[in-house]
């Protein structure tokens, strides 16, 4: 790799911010545990998203303050949350009926790898240890839009956008959009189509850190975010 991404790439907060800009007013949204939870912090002013969590809460509020936690009121990441007017509780089968039944507008997940046909690998490194899947395999078939937020390459510099996943799959052909630390890419008919990229990186350099062909859409916008 000839370029130093460190100096130009977005940080996690900026990736999350960018993903949050696409969540429309009134959307029902599930954020995967860990990094994707950060998206909730960047909900644009004047838009209301209703957040769903697998363990049976719809329309929950902010994270609970330290010392104020009620451990009967947690999200799928086992973090204490709060209720707000309009919150509803329901059991696990009803919760995944919402997911599997296609009632969510957006799910935002992390990824180890995303393939150009929309295959996602995000649950198992395939390297042994104790496997754990949680709700990831359900979520990828649940929402109308399944978005991924991720660094563009691994810590070792390997591309996370690939021709075909080499790690164990979470779902087949499920991802519709990827927000990386360098660009925004849609999955369209088995191809990655570039929608936005940082101005600081050239097309050639971006392609060089991507494991599959990046097709160029009608226009490629500059990917811009605030400093976060």
């Amino acid at each position: 790799m000839s370029i130093n991404l460190e100096n130009i790439q977005l940080n996690n907060a900026q990736i999350a911010w960018r993903a949050a800009q696409d969540i429309e007013d009134g959307a029902y949204v599930n954020l995967g545990i860990g990094f994707p939870e950060m998206v909730a912090q960047f909900q644009p002013e004047g838009r209301e998203a209703i957040f769903h969590t697998e363990n049976g809460v719809l329309g929950f509020g902010k994270a609970a303050e330290a010392g104020e936690e009620d451990w009967d009121l947690i999200n799928a990441g086992k973090k204490a949350v709060t209720i707000k007017p309009g919150t509803a509780f329901f059991h696990h089968a009803d919760s995944f009926a919402m997911v599997r039944g296609g009632h969510l507008d957006v799910a935002i997940l992390g990824a180890f790898q995303v393939a150009q046909n929309g295959d996602l690998a995000n649950w198992s490194t395939g390297r042994g240890g104790v496997p754990a899947v949680g709700g990831a395999m359900d979520l990828v078939h649940g929402a109308r839009r399944v978005a991924v937020i991720t660094d563009h390459v691994t810590k070792k510099g390997a591309p996370k956008l690939v021709d075909a996943c080499t790690m164990p799959l979470t779902g087949v052909g499920c991802v519709t959009r990827v927000y990386t630390s360098l660009c925004v890419v849609d999955v369209v008919e088995g191809r990655f189509v570039l929608r936005e990229k940082l101005a600081a990186i050239s097309m050639d350099d971006l392609q060089s850190v991507t494991g599959a062909v990046l097709h160029v859409g009608d226009t490629v916008k500059d990917l811009t975010t605030p400093s976060l």
Partner: protein, 235 residues
């Protein structure tokens, strides 16, 4: 977020010819009479209707059938005190009937809402209603495969409704309403009373708002059973 609609007429205005419409209720209990009557006035034709019954007297679903708006009915029990509207049309070959055992009907609707395209049930195995359906053996017993049921619209009746679409139901008027809310692309709920967001305790919500597109307030809703005893005719 505000899913409230000003009138039942507005709420049903965009239901087109040929739509599949689930209608909640079991007999008159939980039947959204005002929404059905608004649908009659709106006038779409060629509807496929999913309901447990086939209507009674000359109001509600019976009136919708009587107006010639229904091409096909999917139900479990097309009998009532006065099922004349349906019976006459059915015997004249003017309406198609898909008869489904009641529990299978409920489960097919729930499956539609829950993203389960097919399931196996012991119900109807070895009967005429299983003819042509795949069967499979599990643990030495044979079961019938049934498909999910979805709709373009659901017309349902709740008790309380808030702007986010959270709903409660009154007593046994709950019946098919919550599962139909899950299975339709657009769910239109009439409620007896609007409350503000937060006016329904989170533990008491029966249908979370994610399953509801539109809520319209109909205070003191009519009861089909009472209308029938009054020999009411709509329109």
């Amino acid at each position: 977020m505000d899913k409230r609609s000003a009138s039942v007429a507005d709420a049903v205005a965009d239901i087109p010819d040929g739509a599949t419409v689930m209608i909640g209720g079991f007999g008159g209990s939980g039947a959204p009479i005002e929404l059905i009557h608004a649908l009659i006035l709106a006038g779409p034709k060629g509807l496929t209707v999913v309901n447990n019954n086939a209507g009674n007297g000359h109001v509600g679903l019976a009136a919708l059938i009587e107006q010639g708006q229904v091409d096909k009915l999917i139900c479990s029990f097309p009998r009532s005190a006065d099922p004349k509207a349906f019976t006459d049309l059915y015997q004249a070959g003017g309406i198609e009937l898909e008869l489904v055992p009641q529990g299978t009907l409920a489960e097919r609707i729930r499956a539609g809402g829950a993203g389960i395209p097919a399931f196996y049930t012991p119900t109807s195995y070895g009967t005429d209603l299983a003819k042509g359906k795949p069967t499979a053996e599990f643990d030495g017993r044979t079961y019938v495969q049934e498909r999910w049921l979805k709709a373009d619209y659901a017309l349902i009746k709740g008790e309380l409704g808030d702007p986010m679409g959270n709903l409660t139901y009154r007593m046994a008027a709950r019946n098919f309403n919550p599962v139909m809310a899950m299975a339709a692309t657009r769910t239109i709920a009439q409620v007896s009373r609007f409350v503000e967001t937060g006016g329904i305790e989170p533990e008491v919500v029966i249908t979370p708002g994610i399953f509801v597109s539109t809520v319209v307030e109909v205070p003191n809703p009519q009861q089909e059973e009472v209308l029938i005893r009054q020999k009411a005719v709509f329109p």
